[in-house]
Every structure is written in C-alpha cells, then in structure tokens.
C-alpha cells in the first residue's frame, strides 16, 4: 500500500490531537496501517502542537523535513512555519484565522501578511486550499470545531486513503455526543469549502 504522510500543525488548544485521534480511529476501522506521533510538551501553555500521521506500510512514526504529502495548518503563521516540511508536490490546507503569538502582542515580532503568506505557499507547493475555518466553525454552531472543519477539507482532497463515512463514524466514537451534530456540520462546511477552493 502506498505511503501517505500527513502533518498537522496547530497552536495548543485548537484540538489538533482530537483531529488526529479521529483519523486514527477511522484508519483502525478501515483496517489501514497507521503510524502516528505527536509533540505536545507545552500544548497547554500556548506552544505549537504537531502531529505526524503516516498511512500505509511504513514503520517510521515521524516525517522528515520536505516529506509531507499533505500539510494541514490550523493557524496561518504556523502553516507558513511548517513549510519546511513540504516539497513541491505537497498539498497544503490552511485556516486563515490568525491566533496572535504573545511575542507579537508585546511588540517582539510582526505577524505575516495573510495575502503574501498565501502567495508564498501557493508558489512553493502543489496546491493551497485556504479559508477562514474559524468562521465556518462558528457557522456550525461550535467555535471550537475548527479542527472538524479542517478535517472535512482534508478528506475532500482525497489525498488520504480514508472515506468520508469512515471519518464521520470515527467522529461518533471520539467526539463528545453533545457536540456531535455541530462537529458533523463543521466537517461538512469544511468539505464544501475545500471543494470550492479547488
């Protein structure tokens, strides 16, 4: 089976690990071999959280620089920062709603211009799908569902060997019942947004 390498980058609190565990559960149900790793040492203290998911028969649980087939960024500056994980064939999905690092708030750094950021990513990779996932999450009735919006977009690209139904079923197992309806709605909105952007 072909190996597909996915990197998800996010800021602590954005639900990256839940998104990864939904994908993991979906792979388990679909009987697709999967290796996963995460770095989340300081997730609760505003740091960056990164997950690597490798679908297929590879044994490695991490992805070297330049070797991601698809990159999903939950925060635009973090997507840009993770560009070294991409090659010219990588598909990139990014949320466009910034979360200001406190270094910017205290005047130690300038947040990149969002237009320029998109142009740069588009120029250096195979494809960029960019939209405001925070808005769609709100529209779905759950501002915390940015992760599910981006999952929808990810599945729409067809890069992963997972079907929509498998992921939706995994969401039923892994997300809280009270949020399931809004999470599914968020997933749908992300899926549609990615289809439009493509």
């Amino acid at each position: 089976m072909k190996t597909t390498r996915l990197i998800i980058v996010a800021v602590g609190g954005q639900g990256n690990l839940l998104a990864s565990s939904v994908l993991g559960e979906a792979a388990l149900m679909a009987d697709i071999p999967l290796q996963m790793s995460e770095i989340h040492g300081m997730a609760q203290r505003g740091g960056v959280v990164e997950s690597a998911l490798i679908f297929g028969n590879a044994r490695s649980t991490i992805i070297a620089d330049g070797e991601a087939d698809i990159l999903v960024g939950f925060e635009p500056a973090e997507t840009l920062r993770a560009l070294n994980r991409c090659n010219t064939d990588t598909v990139v999905i990014t949320n466009l709603a910034p979360l200001m690092p406190f270094t910017v708030n205290i005047g130690k750094g300038v947040y990149p211009d969002l237009k320029q950021l998109q142009n740069l990513i588009r120029a250096k990779t195979a494809k960029l799908i960019a939209f405001n996932a925070a808005k769609l999450a709100e529209k779905a009735g759950n501002p915390l569902a940015v992760n599910m919006v981006l999952l929808g977009a990810l599945i729409q690209t067809g890069v992963l060997p997972l079907e929509t139904d498998q992921v939706k079923e995994a969401m039923q197992h892994k997300t809280k019942p009270a949020f399931l309806a809004s999470n599914l709605k968020a997933f749908e909105l992300g899926y549609t947004a990615a289809a439009k952007a493509a």
């Binding site: 602590g12 040492g41 490695s60 991490i62 500056a77 690092p101 270094t103 205290i106 947040y111 250096k124």
Partner: protein, 621 residues
C-alpha cells in the same frame, strides 16, 4: 471502566506508546507501580493512576524517583510484580537505589522504565541511559514500535523473574508519544499480596554480603548474555553483505530506507532489542557475513563501540562506521530522510530526495514559545520579586517546572538551572562566593522532590539567600499530578496524608518564613522585601492554585477584567507582566475576556487604575 482494563484479548486499539506499555504491564499482572512524573513518561503513570482507582492495582506518585524505586523494590522483594516509571534524568536520582538493588535482586518481577528524550523536547539533557545497564550490570530491553513495546513489557517481567533481578526498559520520546494499532492480549491475574522472608545475609548489603552478591550479579550477567544470544528481540533480516546494526526507532527508519532505496537483497540488518548484555556470538557471526557495517543508533556510540570491539576479538578488519562528521551525530533525534541519505552515501546507492522549495524569501515568522498561562500566579510572584529587588544586583537560580518559563522577558527571572532541586543547593554556593543578592525559585512538587536537603544544608551552613517556593497546589508542568502537599479531597480521594510546606520549612529551622498570596501585589512585595533584607536563609511561600488546575477542578471563577477609557497607554501591564490575555488593538491594550481569569494583578499595577472588573454588557436584540 478504563479502556486498558476492559479491552478484550484479540481486540485492536489505537494506543499511545505509553498506553500500550501500561496495557502490557497489566497483561503481565503488574500489581504495584510507582513513579515521579516526567515527560515523556507521564501518560504511562497517569494510566496506572486512573486504573488504580478502578481496580486492585496499587499505584503511587512518590516524592521522587529514588523513593519510587525503593517502594517498588520492596514490593518486588515481597514477590509482587512491580513497575517503576521515570524519565531518563529521573534515573540519575534513583541510581543510588538501582546500583545496589542490582546486587540484592528481586523475587517478583520488577521492571524499571526509563524514558529517554533525544532532542530534549522537554528535558534538560539528552543522556543515553543504555549506559545505566552497563553501569548496573542489569539487562536492558528496547522496543522499536508501540505494539512491540506492549509485548516486550510482558517479556521484561518474565525475564526479571527468571534472573531474579530488575530489568531496565528503555524507551525514547518517539515510542512514548507515538501511536499505533495494537492487538491486545490476555490479562494475567494480579497478585497484590506478597510475603517478605527474612534473609539478612543476602538482603542486607554490608560489605561481606555485597562481596558475595557481586559474584551473583556477574553470574546473572552471564545468564542474561546467553538469553540475549537467542532472544527473538535480537533478530537478523536479509542476507546481503551490507550490514546495518540498529536499535529502537532507528530500526524503523532503516527499514523504510531499505525499502525506498530498494536494497533489500543487498543488506543484512541486525535489530538489537535485548541491548544489555549484548550477544557476542550473534554479533560476531553477523559481522563475519558482512563486507562493511553501518551502526544506526540515536545518542551515544553504545552499539558501535561494542561491535568494533567484537570485530577486533574475531580478527575482522571490515569497515564499521556510525558516529562520524559525514554520517551520524550524537546529537538530537534521527529522522527517516537522514537515515536514508546516510545509508545511500555509506553503501554507495544512488538516490533522489523530493524537490524542496526554496524558502529563503519567507518573511520572519514571530516565535510562539510556550508561556505562563493567563492568570498564572507565578507571573505575579516574579513581578513582585523583581519589584522588591529593584536596585539590587541579583542572581535568580531557578528549578524545573512551569516557572522555568520565567526565563523569558519581561519576567526574566531565571539565571541558573541544572537539575531538580538545584535552585536551593546552587543558591548556597552563589551566596558564599558573590556579593549579589541570591533569590531562588522552586515549585511545590520540586521542593518535595529534592529541595528539602538543600534547604537543611543552607540552614546548617548559614547560607544567605531567599528561597521563593511557588506553591500552586499541584505538579503543574507534567499535567497536574498530586504531590505530598496536595489536598487529595479535592480529587475525591480518601486515605492520603498531607504535608504542609510551611511546617516543613519552619521545622528545618529556617529563621525567616512568610506565606504570601501573590494576587495581593502590594502586601506580597512588602513581605518579599523583608525576606530579601533578612541576613541568612529566608523563605517566601507564595500560595495560589494553578490557574489551569483551578479550571479543571471547576473552582469558582473570578470575573474577567477590562481596560477602561481611563487608560493612558503607559503599558506597564504589557511591559511588566505580558499576560497572554492581553492583546493590542488599534494601538491600545485590550484584555481577552475568555482568557482573563480575573486575578486582578494587572489592575493593581496600572498607574491610572484603568483596569476594572468587566461590566456585563446588556445584549440588545
């Protein structure tokens, strides 16, 4: 009930490495477990903690790794299967116990897990704990995958009982924090009660006894070596002439590289999973069938040096390489591309890496370092200490915990750190040889872990410094584990004692002790100033519950604050506190009401008194 207790044999689960190891231990009938929390091992003990609340598994958070080792050693000497879990540097703390426990041995199986952290994702060094196996003479096992980790734990218990000595189980971050699909096995019945049979001539390590026990250890070493020769965890794949010797996660990168380079028929891979004692016959036989050999191991050249020595014994002159400027480094963790590139270079295989985009024109991206949370009481204390020490030349020895983040500006309250508890000991040294005011910071859990002996030392040797104990009521950094000062009733857990930090500090004879509430800025500054002015050892205990912990305990929330129109844009709040609840909007400071915890520290330092409790805005439809 906990998923690791209910999972049926044959069932497949997606498990974190730490969960898989916990399940492996449960399957092996572990009945007693102890730890001091430390990343990357923390989730393993968290799972034990959770399971102990729903079963007859005994688990404890011990005050430090040495104590954890001792309680488990006793359980194992009473015949109960026990496991002791720690991060790599924790084994330094427990090493005193380990080295002689190796002589004494165990009756029931005992597994000591050491979680190494190449690249130092969350550690102060990246020491390679395989050398502890060599130093102690104990067997060591190292898994390469999450599934294998689960199996190997079970084997580790059997091995320990067979050899009657503890077994070291070494993981790296990429085992602990990787997830994989794991097939569950049968759970062996836990035997929670043991018996201790007196045998002082084998269990009390006076010199005459130890001389005998060292002979026993060396005999065990030989038996372990025989087992390593035939262990299925030391296996050879392929029958080519290009030899690759590897261990741990390095084996995964080698396997993927061999496949991608399509050199399956050229290579011969020796994966070492039973890594101490190493199997000399197996390795010599392997070397005899190779033209040249590459050793792939993160960390130190542990395997490489052994392999070279064995080649010499066998009179082989084939090239053997590993650590070299053009090949592998002793630094940091490895990755699949690096291993592939080095394999291709060493064996002369053409290969192409994916085309990388030119990133030289990317704008500078603002850093996003982890920071103290909004409303963190440490931020308040750091501010108050700096205010109280204004005009003094200071040295701030610090310690290991969230508060190490006080390193960053604008708090800038960390000048020296080597290990757990070092804030106290190093303060004594600094105060003796410099004329600067030494003010040290230590957390509550770290104080219990290893701060107390340093403080006693300071009282006895008449050192001159101020120790600030940041008591936030939990072990915050590693995920809110309890410690001896925690009120366990808050966790609805009975049957625990509670140790008062203040009582300990007074009992060891510290002459100047003050307890402050850091959210009361003025009072705290005054108390800290008095402590700083005191000649000799003074202690400030700064008490306030960790903001994150308070949230998880669902303690009553304070009202958030807002910056009102009275603001003259002095920005004292931003420049001195830089709480992550602040942000800049149209050149003005604003407070995010969702992040603000209502600690009111910024309100107290605002020169215009412009920061006030947020007024409920009436929502008009």
């Amino acid at each position: 009930m906990h998923k690791l207790l209910t999972g049926k044999p044959g069932e497949k689960m997606l498990l974190l490495g730490n969960e898989a190891i916990a399940r492996g231990a449960i399957e092996a009938g572990v009945a007693f477990a102890s730890t001091y929390p430390g990343t990357p091992s923390s989730e393993l003990s968290l799972n034990f903690f959770q399971m102990s609340r729903e079963s007859d598994l005994y688990f404890e958070y011990s005050t430090n790794e040495k104590v954890a080792m001792e309680v488990s050693a006793a359980a194992a000497n009473a015949g109960v299967r026990s496991m002791c879990v720690m991060k790599h540097v924790g084994l330094n703390v427990a090493a005193d116990a380990l080295m002689t426990l190796a002589y004494v041995g165990v009756k029931g199986g005992m597994v000591v897990l050491t979680a190494d952290d190449p690249f130092m994702f969350s550690s102060q060094n990246e020491q390679d704990n395989r050398y502890y196996a060599k130093l102690s003479g104990l067997p060591m096992l190292e898994p390469s995958s999450v599934q294998e980790a689960k199996e190997m734990v079970g084997y580790a218990f059997d091995l320990s009982e067979k050899l009657k000595e503890p077994v070291l189980f070494r993981t790296t971050t990429r085992i602990n924090h990787s997830s994989g699909i794991v097939k569950l096995g049968k759970i062996r019945k836990r035997i929670t009660k043991g018996d201790f049979i007196k045998d002082p001539l084998n269990l009390v390590t006076v010199p005459a006894v130890s001389r005998k026990l060292h002979v026993k250890l060396l005999k065990n070493y030989d038996s372990a070596m025989q087992l390593a020769e035939s262990s299925t965890y030391n296996f050879v794949e392929g029958d080519g002439g290009w030899g690759i010797v590897c261990n741990g996660v390095g084996y995964n990168y080698v396997s993927d590289a061999v496949e991608e380079l399509q050199i399956e028929d050229r290579v011969r891979v020796l994966r070492v999973g039973f890594s101490h004692p190493l199997p000399p016959k197996l390795i010599k036989d392997f070397l005899g069938r190779c033209e040249k050999v590459l050793v792939v191991e993160e960390g130190e050249p542990y395997l490489e040096e052994a392999v070279k020595a064995l080649a010499q014994e066998k009179g082989l002159t084939l090239p053997i390489a590993g650590k070299a400027p053009e090949l592998f480094s002793r630094l940091y963790e490895y990755n699949p591309a690096q291993v592939r590139t080095n394999l291709a270079a060493y064996f002369g295989v053409p290969h192409e890496s994916p085309a990388l985009p030119d990133l030289s024109d990317l704008p500078e991206i603002p850093q996003r370092p982890p920071t103290l949370c909004a409303g963190c009481s440490h931020r308040a204390t750091f501010y108050e200490v700096r205010k109280a020490a204004e005009g003094l030349e200071t040295i701030y020895p610090t310690d290991i915990g969230c508060y190490t983040l006080g390193l960053l500006p604008p708090l800038s309250s960390a000048d020296f750190l080597i290990c757990m508890g070092s804030s106290v000991g190093t303060s004594g040294g600094f105060s003796k040889v410099t004329d600067k005011k030494v003010i040290a910071f230590i957390g509550d859990s770290t104080f219990f872990h290893s701060g107390i002996p340093g403080l006693i030392n300071a009282v006895f040797n008449n050192h001159n410094f101020t120790l600030v104990i940041l008591d936030n009521g939990t072990t915050a950094m590693t995920g809110h584990q309890p410690h001896p000062g925690v009120d366990m009733q808050q966790l609805q857990m009975d049957g625990f004692g509670r140790v008062s930090i203040e009582a300990v500090v007074r009992a060891v004879g510290v002459p100047h002790v003050t307890v402050v509430k850091p959210y009361k800025v003025k009072k705290s500054i005054e108390a800290i100033r008095a402590a700083i002015d005191f000649e000799g050892v003074s202690v400030i205990i700064s008490q306030e519950t960790c903001a994150l912990y308070a949230k998880s305990l669902k303690l009553a929330r304070r009202k958030p604050f807002e910056v009102t129109d009275k603001c003259r844009n002095h920005r004292d709040c931003m420049d001195n506190l830089a709480c992550p609840a602040f942000y800049v909007w149209n050149e003005r400071i604003k407070i995010d009401p969702n992040l603000c915890t209502g600690c009111a520290v910024c309100a107290q330092i605002c020169p215009e008194n412009a920061i006030l409790p947020r007024k409920e805005k009436k929502v008009t439809a």
